[in-house]
C-alpha cells in the first residue's frame, strides 16, 4: 500500500524534524493570522494559501510518525495518511503560491518561522519528485549546463566579452590573486547586462582587486528553490571551489535574494565552506565602498521623478540589508525618494521569488500578487522603482509590461554607477 513517493517525502520530513521544527509546529494555535500576511492569500483569497496550511504535509508526517496523538487521530479516522495526491496538491500550493518570503513569521502571534518550515515542506515534495515541471527543468539545466537559463560556458564568455565591449568596461575573468570574487546571476547576464556592467564600473572605480570566475559563474541556486539539499550544495560548491582556487578573501553575491540566503545563512550548516571567506551582498558592498570613501557619488543625481525602493524578502527581510540601499537612494534621489507602505521587514513581496517566476502555471498568481504592488506604487505615484534582486527585477519588468505600466525599474548598482564622480 505504501507509496514509494510518499515514503520518501515523509522520510525527508522525519529527517528534518528536530526540536527546532517540532517545537514550532507544536506552538501553532491555528489562529489563521498568517493568512492575512501572505500576499498570495491576500490577492487570491484561496484559504489553501494560508501559510500554516502549507505546512500540513510536514505537520502530518511529524504527528503521525512521531507522536501518539497523531497516531490516535489516524486510528479514529480524524486525519488521513499523506498520499501521492496530497503531495500533488501541496506541490501546487507550496511552489506556485509561496515565495518563501517569511512575512508570515513576522505577524505570527507565536513567532513561528513559517518560511524555513515551508522550505522543509518543499524539500519533501522534491524528494518525492513532485516539483512543477518548469522548475525541475530549470534545475536540471543548472545541474548539467551550469545555468538555469541554459547559459553554456561559451555563451557566458561571449556575453562577458560583449558586455566589456558594449559598455567599455573591464571585467577581469579568472584573475588569480584577486581579493574579491563577484558571482553574477545569468538573469543579469542575459537580461540586465547593464547591471553587470554597472557593478564592474563601480568596482573598477573603487580600485577593487576583483574578478569573475568561469567555474563559479552562476550564483542563482535552483536547488535552493526546490529545497534539494544535495543540489543546493552542488551549486554552492561550484562557487566555493572557484573561490578557493582563486584564493579570494570575499565572495560578493550579486543581485539574487535566494542565492544570498543560501550562501550567507544556509551554506555553513549544510556543507564545508572555505575558511576566512566573507560572504557579502553587492548592495552592502557598494554601500561599504561609498562609506569608506572609495567611490563618490553625486548627491541628487537622480532627477527622473519619484523613485521608491522595493524590499526583497531574502535580502532585506531575511538578509538584514535594510539601511544600506536606502542611504544610497537617499543620497542619489534626495526628496524624490519615497517609501512604499508597508516597507522594510513588513514589505510586500514581489510575488516572483522562490522560483515562482520560473513556473508557467503560477503566472496568474504572480500577476494577481503584483496588482497589490502596483497599488503600492500608485499610492506614492512612483515613476521609478529600485531593487537589489534580479528575481524581483524580472518580476517587475515582466509584470509592469503585463499591466502596461510606465514605471521604470532600476538596479541599485546601475543608479550608483551612473552617478559616480
Amino acid at each position: 500500500m505504501k507509496s514509494q513517493k510518499t515514503e520518501s517525502a515523509i522520510n525527508t520530513y522525519l529527517r528534518e524534524t528536530g526540536g527546532w521544527v517540532a517545537s514550532q509546529l507544536e506552538a501553532c494555535t491555528r489562529c489563521g493570522i498568517c493568512a492575512e500576511a501572505c500576499h498570495f492569500y491576500q490577492a487570491l483569497g484561496n484559504p489553501e494559501y494560508a501559510p500554516v496550511w502549507k505546512l500540513e504535509p510536514l505537520r502530518r508526517a511529524y504527528e503521525q510518525r512521531f507522536t501518539p496523538g497523531g497516531k490516535l487521530k489516524l486510528a479514529l479516522g480524524l486525519e488521513k495518511r499523506l498520499s501521492d495526491s496530497d503531495l500533488e496538491r501541496w506541490s501546487r500550493i507550496v511552489f506556485e503560491a509561496c515565495t518563501v518570503c517569511n512575512k508570515c513569521a513576522h505577524v505570527c502571534p507565536m513567532g513561528i518561522e513559517l518560511g524555513p518550515l515551508i522550505h522543509e515542506v518543499r524539500a519533501g515534495l522534491t524528494a518525492a519528485g513532485v516539483v512543477p515541471t518548469d522548475l525541475a527543468e530549470a534545475t536540471e539545466k543548472q545541474k548539467t549546463i551550469g545555468s538555469p537559463l541554459g547559459v553554456t560556458d561559451e555563451m557566458w564568455r561571449e556575453r562577458v566579452d560583449w558586455i566589456t565591449d558594449e559598455w567599455e568596461v573591464e571585467i577581469p575573468v579568472d584573475k588569480t590573486g584577486a581579493e574579491t570574487l563577484v558571482v553574477f546571476t545569468s538573469i543579469e547576464l542575459m537580461k540586465f547586462p547593464d547591471n553587470l556592467a554597472a557593478v564592474a564600473k563601480i568596482l573598477n572605480r573603487a580600485g577593487e582587486n576583483w574578478t569573475v570566475s568561469s567555474k563559479g559563474r552562476e550564483v542563482v541556486n535552483f536547488g535552493y528553490f526546490e529545497a534539494d539539499e544535495g543540489l543546493t550544495r552542488l551549486f554552492m560548491h561550484r562557487v566555493f571551489r572557484a573561490a578557493e582556487e582563486l584564493a579570494v578573501k570575499r565572495i560578493v553575491i550579486s543581485e539574487c535574494g535566494h542565492a544570498y540566503d543560501a550562501f550567507r545563512w544556509n551554506a555553513p550548516n549544510i556543507m564545508k565552506v572555505p575558511k576566512g571567506v566573507e560572504i557579502v551582498h553587492i548592495s552592502e558592498y557598494i554601500h561599504h565602498l561609498w562609506k569608506t570613501g572609495r567611490i563618490k557619488i553625486k548627491d541628487g543625481a537622480f532627477e527622473a521623478g519619484t523613485i521608491t525602493f522595493h524590499d526583497s524578502c531574502k535580502i532585506q527581510r531575511r538578509g538584514g540589508i535594510i539601511k544600506q540601499p536606502r542611504e544610497l537612494l537617499q543620497a542619489l534621489a534626495g526628496k524624490n525618494f519615497k517609501e512604499m507602505t508597508p516597507n522594510r521587514e513588513q514589505a510586500l513581496c514581489c510575488g516572483g521569488g522562490g522560483g515562482v517566476i520560473s513556473i508557467k502555471e503560477a503566472d496568474a498568481n504572480r500577476y494577481a500578487v503584483f496588482e497589490m504592488k502596483v497599488e503600492q506604487l500608485r499610492e506614492i505615484e512612483a515613476q521609478a522603482v529600485c531593487m537589489v534582486c534580479s528575481n524581483c527585477r524580472l518580476q517587475f519588468v515582466d509584470s509592469l509590461g503585463h499591466f502596461n505600466l510606465p514605471v521604470k525599474v532600476h538596479g541599485l548598482a546601475e543608479l550608483v554607477s551612473r552617478s559616480l564622480i
Binding site: R15, F66, I145, L231
Partner: protein, 381 residues
C-alpha cells in the same frame, strides 16, 4: 384513661389562655406555616389563621413521647438545647410536650434507666419520636459504643422499630460527624445510613441549632408529619438557604473586600471572611437567620469563618482556614518531582523510538556527498 392534650397540660401548669395564644402565634411564626411547603402541597388555605391551626393541634393532640439516644457524641447538642436562651421553646418541648427517656437529662440511672426505655418503647410503640445524638458505629459489630452491655447498633435498631419518626440531631448522628473523620476507626455512619424503613430527619450542625431541633419536633406535632426535606434529609424550612445567602457580610463579598487575617484592618471593619476559609457558600443552615444565644450572634457575625458544620464530612473538606476554592488533595514537592520524572522518562522513551525512526529515515533518503556534476567532471578532465 384518655391522655391529656397538650393544651390541658399547659393549662394545668398555669398557662393563661392569652399566653397560650401568644405561644401558638410564636410557634406558627417560627415554623413559617403560611409558607410551609407541606401546607402549600396540601392545598389548604390557612383559614382562619396560622396560629389557630397551631392552637387546634395543641388543643386536640396528646403530648408526644420522645426517646433521646446518645451514641458517639459529646452531648454538645443536648448542652445546646438545654441551655438554649429561648427557654420558652426548649422547655416547652422538653418538659411540656413530653419527654420520656434522655440519658443525660433523666433522673434515673443504670439499669433503672434502661428499664424505663424498654417500657417506653413498648408503651408508645408506633407513636414516639426517636431523637438520636451522636454517630452509630458499625465497625466490629458496634462494640465501640455500648450502653448497658448492648451495642449501639442493637439499641438503635430496637428503638427505631416503633418510632413514628426519627430525628438525627447534630452532624454526628446525621453524617457520622467528627467520629467519621478520616480514617474513621469506629466505622461511624449517619442514622439514615442504617435505618431505611423509618422516616429520618437530619438536623446537622455542630451542635445542631436548638430551635431547629425543637422546631422540627413542633412541626411534627402540629402538622402530624415531618417537614419537607432536601436531598440530605434536612428540613427545608431551616436548610433551604446557605449561610452565604443570608450573610450579613455579603455586601463585602460582592464588593471584593476581604479579611486577610484575623486581626487586620479588614477584620475590624467586618469584611467578608471568604479568604479565611469561610464555607458559607456551600453550607446550608439557618445560622444567619436564627443565630445563637437568643439571636445574639453566630460565628460569621463574631468574626470567624463558617466551618460548614451542617454539611457531610465537613471535617475532611480541606483546612478550616484554607480558601474553599483550594484543592483538598495536593501534590507535594516530592510527588511533583516524581511525576515530572515519570513524564520525562516517558518523553525520553518516545524520543528514543523517534530517534531510531529518524535514523532509518536518514538512511532511506540518500544525501549526496559533496557533489560534482557530470558536466563539471568532464571539464576538469
Amino acid at each position: 384513661m384518655k391522655e391529656k392534650t397538650i393544651y390541658e397540660h399547659l393549662r394545668e401548669k398555669g398557662l393563661s389562655r392569652r399566653d397560650f395564644m401568644k405561644l401558638c402565634g410564636t410557634i406558627a411564626g417560627m415554623l413559617g406555616l403560611e409558607f410551609s411547603p407541606p401546607v402549600k402541597a396540601l392545598g389548604k388555605v390557612l383559614n382562619p389563621s396560622p396560629e389557630e391551626v397551631v392552637a387546634q393541634a395543641l388543643k386536640t393532640k396528646p403530648r408526644v413521647p420522645i426517646i433521646w439516644l446518645e451514641f458517639q457524641d459529646c452531648a454538645g447538642c443536648t448542652e445546646a438545647i438545654s441551655r438554649s436562651s429561648s427557654p420558652l421553646l426548649s422547655r416547652l418541648v422538653l418538659e411540656d410536650i413530653a419527654i420520656e427517656y434522655h440519658e443525660t437529662l433523666m433522673a434515673a440511672a443504670g439499669f433503672q434507666a434502661e428499664k424505663a426505655r424498654e417500657e417506653c418503647l413498648k408503651r408508645y410503640y408506633g407513636k414516639y419520636v426517636l431523637v438520636v445524638e451522636g454517630s452509630p458505629t458499625t465497625a466490629d459489630d458496634g462494640i465501640y459504643c455500648t450502653v448497658g452491655g448492648k451495642s449501639n447498633l442493637e439499641i438503635l435498631k430496637e428503638s427505631a422499630a416503633g418510632a413514628a419518626a426519627i430525628i438525627a440531631t447534630g452532624n454526628c448522628a446525621c453524617f457520622g460527624g467528627i467520629p467519621a473523620a478520616r480514617p474513621n476507626p469506629t466505622g461511624a455512619v449517619g442514622v439514615a445510613d442504617l435505618i431505611k424503613d423509618r422516616p429520618v430527619v437530619n438536623i446537622p450542625g455542630c451542635p445542631a441549632i436548638p430551635e431547629v431541633t425543637t422546631g422540627t419536633i413542633l412541626h411534627f406535632l402540629v402538622m402530624g408529619q415531618l417537614p419537607a426535606l432536601d436531598s440530605l434529609k434536612r428540613p427545608l424550612p431551616f436548610y433551604g438557604h446557605t449561610v452565604h445567602d443570608h450573610c450579613l457580610r455579603r455586601p463585602f463579598y460582592e464588593a471584593g473586600k476581604f479579611v486577610g487575617s484575623f486581626d487586620d484592618e479588614g477584620a475590624r471593619k467586618g469584611y467578608c471572611l471568604y479568604k479565611l476559609g469561610c464555607k458559607g457558600p456551600t453550607t446550608y443552615n439557618a445560622c444567619a437567620g436564627l443565630k445563637w444565644e437568643r439571636g445574639l450572634s453566630y460565628p460569621v457575625q463574631s468574626g470567624h469563618p463558617c466551618l460548614g458544620c451542617s454539611e457531610p464530612h465537613f471535617w475532611d473538606g480541606g483546612g478550616f482556614y484554607e480558601g474553599q476554592s483550594a484543592p483538598t488533595m495536593k501534590l507535594d514537592k516530592g510527588s511533583t518531582a516524581t511525576l515530572i520524572g515519570a513524564g520525562t522518562a516517558l518523553g525520553a522513551a518516545l524520543a528514543g523510538v523517534n530517534a531510531v525512526k529518524k535514523t532509518r529515515a536518514r538512511k532511506a533518503v540518500v544525501k549526496p556527498e559533496q557533489p560534482v556534476s557530470p558536466a563539471e567532471e568532464k571539464k576538469e578532465d
